[in-house]
Each structure stands twice: as structure tokens, then as C-alpha cells.
């Protein structure tokens, strides 16, 4: 299993299972299956739409697979995503030597152009129990439960 993780880098951030098969995406490991991961507390995530437009979806791409983190978020509303994407980072940090982990995150707005950016959260979880992703028209700002800035990414 471990070799498969290293060679293919396939991870599942959630407890949901996905059917694998030839030529399709296989789930090699779930964060909760990794012993070291079980002892880590993973911060909760909330996403705040800090724009006057409705967000139709927030997606993350992992190893070529697009996953929807959350669907619609009305303007100026904070919501909890269906998938806690920090599981991706925690699991990837476990199986990869590289410390730089940035997944493409795509935000779609209703009737307006969205954006895709690389969001690196590899250090954002340090000392945080809760992270809020403030989504703006051109970027994402991440702060912890104390308001401390933990990550930022934007498109020009």
C-alpha cells in the first residue's frame, strides 16, 4: 500500500470511498488510515464568501482529479465545506518528502469569472484549531481562529 502511495501519489482526503479500476482513479490511502495522522488533530475549515456574488462551487484538483469541496455559498456567508481539504495536506506531508504542497483550487462565481490558484497550506495548520478561508474575487486569505494570517494566494 505504501509503495503505491509513493509511486502514484493517490490520496483521499475524506472517509468516502471511490471505486477504482483500470484507467480510473484509485484511492490508495485515507488520512485516517495512516497511524501518524490519527494522532494529529486536523483543524476545522470554514469558507467565507467575501464577495457580493454567489459562489457556485469551490473545487480542488488532486493528481488530476477534480473534487468539489463545497457547492453554493451565498454572498457574505460563511459555510462549512463538505470535504476538509486539510486531509490532503496532512496525508501528502506524510507520504511525500517535499514540503511544498500546493493544490490548484478553483472558485466559480455565478455570472462572473472565477479563478484557479495554487494554495499552499503546508504550514497553515501549525498551532491552529480552526481555519477560515476568506474567498475574494481574485484570491483566498486564510486565517486561524485567532485571526492570525496563515496563508494567502491570489491571481493577478
Amino acid at each position: 500500500m505504501t509503495d503505491e502511495i509513493h509511486s502514484r501519489g493517490l490520496l483521499n482526503a475524506t472517509s468516502m470511498s471511490t471505486s477504482g479500476g483500470t484507467g480510473s482513479v484509485a484511492i490508495a490511502a485515507r488520512p485516517e488510515d495512516i497511524p501518524e495522522f490519527q494522532s494529529r488533530s486536523m483543524p476545522d475549515i470554514q469558507m467565507a464568501n467575501a464577495t457580493p456574488f454567489s459562489i457556485t462551487s469551490v473545487e480542488v484538483e488532486v493528481n488530476g482529479t477534480q473534487m468539489q469541496l463545497i457547492g453554493e455559498i451565498p454572498p457574505m456567508v460563511k459555510a462549512t465545506p463538505d470535504i476538509n481539504m486539510l486531509g490532503l495536506y496532512c496525508a501528502d506531508q506524510y507520504v511525500n518528502v517535499s514540503s511544498v504542497i500546493a493544490y490548484p483550487v478553483s472558485v466559480s462565481f455565478e455570472g462572473h469569472k472565477g479563478f484557479t490558484l495554487g494554495l499552499n497550506l503546508s504550514t497553515a495548520t501549525d498551532g491552529s484549531n480552526h481555519l477560515i478561508f476568506y474567498i475574494y474575487r481574485r484570491g483566498i486569505f486564510v486565517a486561524n481562529e485567532l485571526g492570525d494570517p496563515r496563508a494567502m494566494a491570489w491571481v493577478s
Binding site: 485571526g147 494570517p149 496563508a151 494567502m152 493577478s156
Partner: protein, 127 residues
């Protein structure tokens, strides 16, 4: 740190402008470079210095409850701007403060202080 003073928490400084600034707190010997986050498309806390400390009362290089003096020097102009930052007595042990700098216009910048994410002070400073 002076006798009787105690550490209450941390002060994270975030520079959202495109200009490197230097921050001196309460006329202390430290001149802290604050990375300009707007110059890159990604930012992580690793590019930030160790957070400043919040103490019971102000001291050189340490924020404290009450009136503090922040000397801000933009690298672009080199001109020092002194601004008082008053931290209210409602702030206490375990609280986290955030000092954010942002661009207001080509002539002005703005700073605002937050406690646990809620604004508690702020002002406009000239470039």
C-alpha cells in the same frame, strides 16, 4: 523585559502592501522588516518573522496594553512615520493581536489592529 511585566500573547504583523516596511515598536532597538505580501501571488507565515509579543505594559520592542508607538519606515521612501497604537484594556491574556498594513491610495496607507480577528484600532498614515 522589565520586572512585573508579563507576556499576554502574540502580535502578528501582516503587510498587505507591495512595499517592504520596517517596524520599530516603542523606540526599541529592533527594526523589523515586514515582508510585502502583495509582491508575490502566494504567502505563508514562514515568510514572516516570529510574532511580536503583547505584554501587560509597553516596553521597547514589545507591545503592551495602553499607548504604544510604532515607527514605520517604507523601504520605498525611507521616511519614518510615527503612529500611536492604543491597545485597549479589554485585551487580556491569551488574546492574539494582528497588525495589518494595507494600501489606501497612492498617497496613503492604513493600518488596523485586530484582537482575535475583530478590529480594535486603526488609522491612516501618509506615505
Amino acid at each position: 523585559m522589565q520586572q512585573g511585566n508579563i507576556v499576554l500573547g502574540n502580535v502578528y504583523v501582516f503587510n498587505a502592501t507591495a512595499t517592504q516596511i520596517y517596524l520599530t515598536v516603542n523606540n526599541g532597538p529592533d527594526r523589523l522588516p515586514i515582508f510585502p505580501a502583495a509582491t508575490v501571488s502566494t504567502w505563508l507565515p514562514g515568510t514572516l518573522r516570529v510574532p511580536l509579543q503583547l505584554c501587560a505594559f509597553p516596553e521597547p520592542s514589545l507591545f503592551g496594553i495602553g499607548e504604544n508607538n510604532a515607527a514605520i519606515t517604507p523601504a520605498s521612501s525611507g521616511q519614518i512615520v510615527n503612529t500611536p497604537i492604543v491597545i485597549p484594556t479589554s485585551v487580556g491574556k491569551g488574546d492574539a493581536l494582528q497588525l495589518y498594513f494595507a494600501t489606501k491610495s497612492t498617497q496613503e496607507n492604513v493600518w488596523f489592529m485586530l484582537c482575535n480577528g475583530k478590529p480594535i484600532a486603526g488609522d491612516v498614515i501618509m506615505n
